[in-house]
Symmetry: C2
Subunit: 160 residues, 2 copies
Amino acid sequence: MLIRKAHAADAAAILDIILPTIREGSTYALDNAMADSEAIAYWTSAEKETFVAEDGGLVVGTYYLKANQAGGGQHVCNCGFMTKASATGRGVAKRMCQHALAHAKAQGYKAMQFNFVVSTNDRAIQLWQSMGFEIVGRLPLAFLHPHKGYVDALVMHQQL
Amino acid sequence: MLIRKAHAADAAAILDIILPTIREGSTYALDNAMADSEAIAYWTSAEKETFVAEDGGLVVGTYYLKANQAGGGQHVCNCGFMTKASATGRGVAKRMCQHALAHAKAQGYKAMQFNFVVSTNDRAIQLWQSMGFEIVGRLPLAFLHPHKGYVDALVMHQQL
C-alpha cells in the first residue's frame, strides 16, 4: 500500500470514498446533503494536508491532517480518515493512521486529537485505542445518529 | 445592561474588546498576530450570531453563538465570550452567558459546548461551572500559554 499526497487529479477517487460516508451520515458530523463540490472542497481545503492510500493502483482510502486550533493550540493536529467501503477489513485505516502519526511528528506536532468520534463507531474506537489514543472527553448526546437517535461523541487524543 | 445583536457599526467597539484578548493570547487559541480585519471577520463570520452587551450606551462585552458541528452535531451550539478589560468584575460575562443560554434554547439547540477553555483561566471556569456547565473533557497540554508553558484545556458542556 502506498500513501501519498493527494493531487487535483484524485478528486473523483476521493469523492468515491467520502460521499457514501457523508451521505450515510452515521460517523461524521457533516451535512449529509452537501454538494459533491462542497464535499471535495471540505476534504481538501487549504488548511489541510490531504493524502490518499493506493493499493494496486487504486485509491482505497484518504485522510487529512491539519492543526486543530490556531495560536496557542497549533501544536496539536487533527485528522479525518475514510476508507473505501469495498476495501474495509484490509487495515487501510490503520496504515493511514500510522502514516499520519509519523507525518505529524515529523511536522513538529506534539499531539493528535480527534474531536468527535461517534460513540457507536466501535470499529474506529477500537482501532484508535489499539494505536495509542485515549478517550479524554465524552460529549453527552452530541450526535444525532440516523438510526440510533442521540448518542455520545468521544474526544480521543495521543501525545506524539 | 442591554444585550443586542451586533451591527456593522459596532465593529470598532468589538475590536476594542477582542483585540487586547487576542494579542495577549492567554485565553483563546487564536493567532495573536492576526490582522484587525481578520479578527473582526472571525468574530462576526457568517455562521455566527454575534451580540454585544451595552452598559450606559457603551459596548462592554461581546459574544458569538454558532452550531458547534454540522449534520448530526448541529443541535449543539458553541459560544465565545469576551468582556472589555475596563468592565471586568461587573458580571458582564455572566449576563451574556445567561442571554446566550436563553437564546440558544429558543433557537432549538439542545446543548451548549465550550471546546477549549484554557485550564489556567480560573475565573472563566468558575463562572461556567456556577452557571451549570460541567467539565466533560480535558485535553492534555493542548494550549501553549504565553507565560505558563503547556497547560491543559477543558471541554465544558451543559444540556439546555
